[in-house]
Amino acid sequence: MASFDVAMAEWALAEAKKKGATAAEILYSSGESLAAGVRLGETEKLTSSRERRLGMRVFVGQSSATASTAEMERSSIADFIADTVTLARLTAADPWSGLPDPVLHPASFPELSLSDPECGILDADRALQIARAAEKAALGADSRIKNSEGAEFDSGRYQIMLANSQGFCGEYEGSSFSLVVQPIAQDGNAMQHGYWYTTNRRFAKLEDAEAVGKTAAARAVRRLGARKVKTTRVPIVFDPEMAAGLIRTLAGAASGPALYKGTSFLIDRLGQQVAAPGVTIVDDGTMPGALGSKPFDGEGLPTRRQHLVERGTLRTYLLDCYSARKLNLAPTGNAARSVGSAPTVSTTNLYLEPGQYTPEQVIGSVKKGLYVTEMIGFGINMVTGDYSRGAGGLWIEDGKLTYPVQEITIASNLKDMFLNIEMIGNDLHWRSSVVSPTLKIAEMTIAGAS
């Protein structure tokens, strides 16, 4: 097969210039993976994949276009480049478009240990064995675990190459391993789904399969007998998984495209207090081995460690070059590219710094309130910050977790919610690329039974 390498990239960039591009950028991504699923002890699915995609962004003056193709023969690529240049010519000249300022490209790349040096893609038998062990542990954990949506083990490798016509060329590769278990607890007619997972770039660092299964089972069982509570206003404690969703939303509102489009509740808030004084949120793309790390961003700028929020104050927006120019700020190394679309913005490894309280202390501080462990729906208005989502969890009575709760919503406004973070747990665990400890918000509206 025709494989795409640095020499090919250089040829393609030169070809773009020959066709009339004033600047160009090439992104090549490839990957392989194997996913193995079991259900009720039996093999259920094996999915093996192999993908490679070529993406190109070209500029004709201030006009630009983005294109991607799966056709990798040199003659097809030449046509593809010509088409992309034509497309750029037809696009409006945009004074803010363009490649990064060349001086911002790094001279060298940090070693971030993104690939597992010891373990490649697991073969089907081994992957099935791990999934089976995890599901078995879930099924055996409690007599009320009577069914399962199965367990799945995935492993994959990917390679990225980014090069542009002003001399930047970078490559990296990474690996990922993950295990997901989804048992179902049943009591009479009521059923509840449980979910737990582990994911890492290093196989050896995954959590033990049986432990993952048992946690999934416990999470399903504790939802049995859930009921609706009455409409009220109470303190809400977000477990770490749900709290991570809150900071992901905040980062979304702080991202350049949302700001310049006017679709963010954080417009004109730089340097202002946006969260309680104890809240510090960091985005760090340079943590070795971490799931969200990368040596350079989607435009070839170095990733970095930066405070999004420092002791409650909004310190930076997250910017690619385009949104940075529009907002008259400097890019922050947060450009994200997929082969088929122009750069957008994403976080790298985003976390809220842990506080001093154990989760038990946080829950213990609540007389009547809700400990949220599940959320459904998309009820967030990013323009206003209005927040209204389906929730489930455990009712807190006199500082203790009591019965499970479901079929309610929790609502407030994100601006108020962040300002009203009253307690921060000390339980920060790097389970994904966006993580938070337990958080307590002073008050939100629960809508439920009348």
């Binding site: 097969m1 039996e42 093999t43 259920e44 699915k45 094996l46 999915t47 093996s48 994949s49 192999r50 993908e51 995609r53 276009a65 983005t66 991607s68 193709t69 799966a70 056709e71 593809f80 088409d83 497309l87 750029a88 037809l90 696009t91 409006a92 945009d94 069914n147 949506e149 179902i184 009521a190 059923m191 509840q192 789904h193 939802r223 859930a226 206003r233 489009k261 006017g262 679709t263 122009a342 599940e374 459904i376 729906g377 998309f378 009820g379 208005n381 323009v383 206003t384 209005d386 209204s388 389906g390 479901q406 079929e407 309610i408 919503t409 609502a411 509206t445 629960i446 809508a447 009348s450």
Partner: protein
């Protein structure tokens, strides 16, 4: 449609140099172990998107993707392998990977493919928007921008995009069938940001599309309606009060609020969840799950609709499936695997996002049939409640049946009259009983305008929904005003 696509089943053979004999050999490789079914899914997709921001069409993107997926089913097991290189060698490797799911060696059955599958002709369009000059599409976005801005001085930004694709698919199966289809799809989206000058800012969105030609957007100036609708919604929401919190009577307007059915009923009736008995609807066929006023169908055969298909992604012709008939649960949505295991009929609901995924049961266009009330009677009947006319997304937990959908335009109903606008809020309910609370169904059934996308297990597919105005006696509204 260009002439070369008059026979889409020849497209892949011509383009990638593959004969039917070669496909038979690949399927033979896939079936070297004891399997119930094997199929090859080929896909070739062209897509283009144009985006306007700040009165400038400054984003253009296009893409060409292709690939092949090989699937082997043995009992409940699925082996799937795919590659974006459509070559005999890659397909053989994929077939070997996929058949690993089956354990015993078997005699390879004699295979002869070539039996064509009858398919509908729901979207035989002459041209797709991809063939319309880019400048023309760009001018349409600029017209939308001007129209929305002229609607009201409070309009501060307009974001508009037009996305079009043409997907050619072919499915060859171990039963010898071969089905191919050319699937056009496009959508036009408008978002409008409005500011009231007092620090308040709001957004309104509208759009439409389907498996249609570009002219669709010009007919009756649909594009203008999209622009004005998005602007109107943004302006209305500038004056919205806090939404109420708690259980109350909710009246849902016609069209897109049909997302209620998609979340509350549709997902829970997908065959895979029911075969595994993990759905809140498992084992409930024949039972009463809705008021007698409710008949709900899933229909993949409506011409030009976003959720429609001539054949599904397993080569089965799509159909109209009655899910609920006058309140009684009648049917599930099936793909081949789950239909075979449940000894039911495949309903043409086996769908996948792309060649990178094995198919599973999915909805097409899901809607409730019209009733006999008028929308005015329904509003008049409500002393105090919420009238929700526009929604964003929704989600469901199929196992416990709880579902949500989020209103983006809603009003209070007071003493039989629609009064003040209230902010968007999430509505939450229980799938198996929400429709038992439907006490009035109006005669104004409308399908949505054609922008819906459904996500399941990481796969997105285009879908449609529809609803007449209905009155639900008790749904929890997730506002802030307790």
């Amino acid at each position: 449609m260009s002439k070369e696509l008059a026979h889409p089943e020849r497209f892949f053979g011509d383009r990638f140099g593959m004969s039917e004999r070669a496909l038979e050999r690949i399927l033979g490789t896939a079936l070297e172990r004891k399997a119930d079914h094997a199929d090859l899914y080929f896909e070739y997709k062209n897509s283009e998107a144009l985006g306007l921001e700040e009165s400038m069409v400054n984003h253009t993107a296009k893409s060409v993707s292709h690939g092949v997926g090989v699937r082997v089913n043995a009992e409940e097991r699925t082996g799937y392998a795919y590659s974006d290189e459509v070559t005999i060698d890659r397909m053989r490797l994929a077939a070997e990977a996929a058949r690993a799911i089956a354990d015993q060696r078997a005699e390879v059955p004699a295979l002869q493919i070539g039996t064509p599958v009858p398919r509908h002709a729901l979207y035989d369009v002459e041209t797709t928007p991809l063939e319309i000059p880019l400048e023309k599409r760009a001018r349409l976005l600029e017209d939308i921008d001007r129209t929305a801005r002229a609607h009201d001085p409070r309009v501060k930004n307009v974001i508009a995009s037009i996305a079009a694709e043409r997907k050619i698919v072919m499915v060859a199966t171990s039963e010898g069938t071969i089905a191919a289809d050319v699937q056009p799809l496009c959508r036009l989206n408008v978002s409008v940001v409005a500011e009231d000058g007092k620090g308040g800012r709001q957004i309104g969105t509208f759009g439409g599309g389907g498996r249609v030609e570009y002219e669709y957007f010009l007919e009756g100036e649909r594009w203008r309606q999209y622009a004005l609708e998005a602007a109107r919604q943004a302006i209305v929401n500038l004056d919205a009060d806090e939404a109420p919190a708690g259980e109350m009577v909710v009246v849902l307007g016609p069209g897109w609020p049909g997302i209620l059915l998609h979340e509350a009923i549709g997902h829970g009736l997908e065959g895979d969840f029911n075969r595994k008995a993990v759905s809140a609807f498992s084992g409930r066929i024949g039972q009463k799950v809705a008021s007698e006023l409710c008949t709900v169908v899933d229909d993949g055969t409506i011409p030009l609709r976003r959720g429609s298909l001539n054949v599904d992604d397993e080569g089965t012709p799509t159909s109209r499936t009655v899910l609920i008939e006058k309140g009684i649960l009648r049917g599930y949505l099936q793909d081949r695997l789950n239909a075979r295991l449940m000894k039911m009929k495949a309903t043409g609901n086996g769908r996948r996002e792309s060649f990178a995924y094995a198919p599973m049961p999915r909805m097409t266009n899901t809607f409730m049939l019209a009733g006999e009330s008028t929308p005015e009677e329904i509003i008049k009947s409500v002393k105090q409640g919420l009238y929700a006319v526009s929604f964003g997304g929704g989600q469901v937990d199929i196992t416990n049946g709880k579902f949500v959908f989020s209103a983006s335009e809603a009003y209070l109903i007071e003493d039989g009259h629609v009064t003040r606008p209230v902010k968007g809020a999430t509505l939450i309910g229980n799938g198996p009983d929400v429709l038992t609370r439907v006490s009035m169904v109006a005669n104004d059934l409308a399908l949505d305008s054609g922008v819906g996308t459904c996500g399941k297990d990481g796969q997105s597919v285009p879908v449609g929904v529809g609803l007449p105005t209905i009155r639900v006696d008790g749904l929890t509204v997730g506002g802030t005003r307790a």
